[in-house]
């Protein structure tokens, strides 16, 4: 090692690592630390069990267009008769030149075939089962009147963030519920457990139990006197104690997220053995949880310094953050009150990570919300679309970062905001600590 590096390291290796190391060893000797980390792991892994069960359960296929049914009882499903050009409503008319298909062949036979969509009008869709192509007149084959037969028009207005889907009859009308539901359910689970379970719950409970007493417990025990009787500023003590806190919580968060990524990556749907595409999302979840738990930790540690019952302030704060977590998740990124919270920025990190790692996510949501076929007429007199299974949960847990910048920039901005919040909390905390009389 060069002489200069040696100097820098040995300087760092004195006060800062002494306190950080001491703090980490102190955590390790406490049963409460292991209880908190253990309980958190158990809770997350219990959720994982539900996920694994869901992934291993076949979602019941629904025949959205009803063409697996043999209306006239001639042995040929309606879909096959339409494809072959015979009359599905007459038992005299059937395609005797082919063998009748089993009815299952006409369930989930017309999947959603959309390529990557872009801003403006997109003409997509494919009539896999031929029940659009075989219609008699051109107008029947072009019910959305765009002069293209048997297609789907997806109109995207990126400026206003709206999407309109207008399909010709019988195009992409009978998608595979299981395939879609597994994919959407898998993503919804990652986002739900990630945003709410890891970024919020873990992000707030770890500091609540581990950081609130970081200075306060030492004050109560009187052991803080050993630290404060040294030539070290109180602000430094707070900073290095936080380093020790990070030294315990961050590896835990990273380890937990890696474990989750591995389990869901192997269990989740997909053609490959492992879902590499999810790794990035798990990483942003871990990163968001790390930053959020750092900011909360600094704030809660400050609460502990201010008042011996600082945990009460911490719980009140956690309640506010819980509200903000719901706002941030449920508003889909539309609410600006979330900017006045810690968790709101944590969610933006995940949202921007999702936008980068799963660029097709919003398209998956929209096609799923639309793809279940037409439902009831709503109070506006418009036709509702029935969502495919998993589309609503995925829609709920997905959000747009809505910062008006690119996803990468949103990621950087929200990370910086959280770092700034952490520094500010530290600064306020150390100012209070300096003015605090320690008996």
């Amino acid at each position: 090692m060069s002489n200069r590096m040696d100097t820098i390291w040995s300087k760092l290796d004195r006060k800062s690592t002494a306190i950080a190391e001491f703090t980490m060893r102190q955590y390790r000797t406490r049963i409460s630390t292991w209880a908190v980390l253990g309980a958190a792991s158990v809770a997350i892994f219990l959720m994982l069990l539900f996920y694994i069960e869901a992934m291993n359960t076949e979602i019941e296929a629904i025949d959205n267009d009803g063409d697996s049914f043999d209306t006239d009882g001639d042995g040929y499903p309606d879909g096959q008769e339409r494809l072959e050009g015979t009359n599905p409503e007459s038992d005299q008319s059937f395609p005797d030149w082919v063998e009748p298909d089993p009815p299952e062949k006409w369930i989930n036979e017309d999947d959603i075939d959309w390529d990557t969509l872009s801003d403006g009008e997109n003409y997509v869709g494919q009539d896999d089962d031929g029940d659009c192509e075989n219609l008699d007149t051109g107008s029947q084959r072009d019910t959305n009147d765009n002069n293209r037969e048997c297609d789907v028009v997806v109109t995207i207005d990126e400026l206003n963030g709206t999407i309109n889907i207008d399909a010709d009859s019988n195009v992409d009308e009978d998608p595979d519920e299981d395939k879609y539901g597994k994919e959407a359910g898998h993503r919804a689970f990652i986002l739900g457990i990630g945003k709410f379970g890891i970024v919020y719950l873990l992000g707030i409970f770890l500091p609540l139990f581990l950081a609130t007493g970081l200075i306060r417990e030492e004050m109560n025990d009187g052991t803080i006197h050993y630290m404060l009787a040294k030539p070290i500023a109180r602000g430094e003590v707070l900073l290095y104690r936080m380093l020790g806190y990070i030294g315990i919580t961050w590896p835990f968060i990273i380890g937990l997220c890696i474990t989750m990524a591995l389990i869901t990556g192997f269990t989740g749907p997909g053609d490959g053995v492992f879902r590499w595409g999810d790794i990035g999302v798990w990483m942003t979840i871990a990163w968001a949880a790390m930053l959020v738990s750092l900011v909360y930790g600094t704030i809660f540690c400050g609460f502990g310094i201010i008042w011996k019952n600082g945990v009460i302030l911490a719980i009140l704060f956690a309640a506010w953050e819980l509200g903000m977590a719901f706002v941030a998740i449920l508003s889909g990124g539309d609410s600006s009150i979330r900017y006045f919270s810690v968790i709101g920025w944590g969610m933006i990190i995940v949202d921007s990570g999702v936008a980068v790692c799963w660029p097709d996510n919003w398209q998956l949501i929209q096609s799923g919300l639309w793809g279940g076929g037409q439902g009831e007429e709503n109070w506006l007199g418009e036709m509702d679309y029935k969502p495919l299974p998993g589309a609503v949960p995925l829609d709920t847990f997905s959000a747009d970062s809505n910062l008006g910048v690119s996803s990468w920039l949103a990621f950087v901005i929200s990370s910086l905001v959280l770092v700034f919040q952490g520094v500010l909390s530290w600064f306020i905390g150390q100012s209070i600590f300096k003015g605090k009389e320690v008996d």
Binding site: R14, K230, P231, I232
Partner: protein
């Protein structure tokens, strides 16, 4: 209440220099109030060199004084200087200070060596330096054999010595010990007293607080008596001892038959009065405490009485305080 944000200054020891030609500790009309309680009222003191005993009963202001020196609390008025620097505003002088708090709680999960090493590093030492110094100070307080055992397994006296060792690790010029002998067994007391005396002999400034005059007398002659937040007396303990000898003392003896035992004291000229407190307590009054204590074992053996306890209920400090305050403590 708004936090006081007046504390400032970096804890960089290399930039900090003690002010020349000032006492190690300076108190200039320092007062400290906690709400309506006056813990310290206008104390002025300057201490440099040697061992000084701070005597006072519980609540006299000893600990408050130390907390002010250690920048733990802020003076309500007046000025405190540690090597010429205000300790509330700047922790830098602590590079030359060793502080032994009175709090019993220690990090029981650490070994004595780890504890001393960890806190030595807060003085800016590297790992290796700290380890070397820790071994040195732990053997100075005679703990070298057990330094790799957990503090939780230590006796009261050993714990007290660990605290002292940790305070000596930076080779401080000023050592402050808050009630270091409290609760220690006789052997530990002797060790600790010797350590303190040695430090004094090494030319360090040592402050020791206690509420027991005997203890302080065995360590130093230079004493400060605090009472109700004020300096009541300051000076040589021999002079104070002389005043004290003019003052009557009580000795209470627990025995089976006080009346039988009392007969043996009647003829003693040093004894000025005998009282029967309860059915098995005998109280003797004397102005020559030392003389009576010297003869006590012989008298008890000769009387063939079973004695279960001997106590000086008005401990010496109280007597001094009674004397100094004219009887109103």
């Amino acid at each position: 209440m708004m936090p006081d944000m007046t504390q400032h200054g970096k804890a960089e020891t290399k930039d900090w220099k003690p002010v020349a030609n000032t006492p190690v500790i300076m108190f200039d009309r320092v007062s400290k109030t906690y709400g309506r309680i006056n813990a310290l009222g206008g104390v002025s003191l300057g201490i440099s060199g040697g061992v000084t005993g701070i005597l006072g009963m519980n609540g006299a202001g000893k600990s408050t004084m130390f907390k002010l020196m250690m920048g733990k609390v802020k003076a309500s008025s007046g000025a405190i200087r540690l090597f010429g620097t205000d300790p509330w505003k700047n922790p830098a002088p602590y590079s030359r200070v060793g502080f032994v708090p009175e709090h019993e709680k220690l990090h029981d999960w650490m070994t004595a060596f780890d504890f001393v090493t960890t806190f030595a590093r807060l003085h800016g030492m590297t790992r290796d330096e700290a380890a070397g110094e820790a071994a040195r100070v732990l053997s100075f307080v005679s703990l070298e054999d057990v330094m790799h055992k957990r503090i939780g397994q230590f006796s009261k006296g050993m714990r007290q010595r660990v605290k002292i060792a940790h305070a000596l690790v930076n080779d401080p010029e000023l050592i402050i010990l808050d009630e270091p002998l409290q609760g220690c067994d006789p052997l530990a007391r002797t060790t600790i007293m010797n350590v303190i005396k040695q430090l004094g002999a090494m030319g360090r400034t040592v402050l020791v607080s206690s509420h027991i005059l005997h203890e302080i007398e065995r360590i130093t002659e230079q004493i400060v008596i605090l009472h109700r937040g004020r300096v009541l007396a300051l000076g040589n303990s021999h002079a104070i001892r002389e005043m004290l000898d003019q003052h009557p003392h009580k000795i209470v003896i627990d025995c089976e038959n006080p009346r039988e035992l009392a007969k043996n004291f009647v003829d003693l000229e040093e004894v000025t009065g005998i009282t029967f407190k309860t059915t098995n307590k005998l109280q003797i009054e004397t102005k020559h405490l030392g003389e009576v204590h010297k003869r006590l074992p012989e008298i008890i053996v000769n009387s063939k009485q079973l004695v279960t306890g001997i106590d000086n209920p008005d401990d010496d400090l109280q007597s001094i305080l009674m004397y100094l305050t004219g009887g109103s403590i």
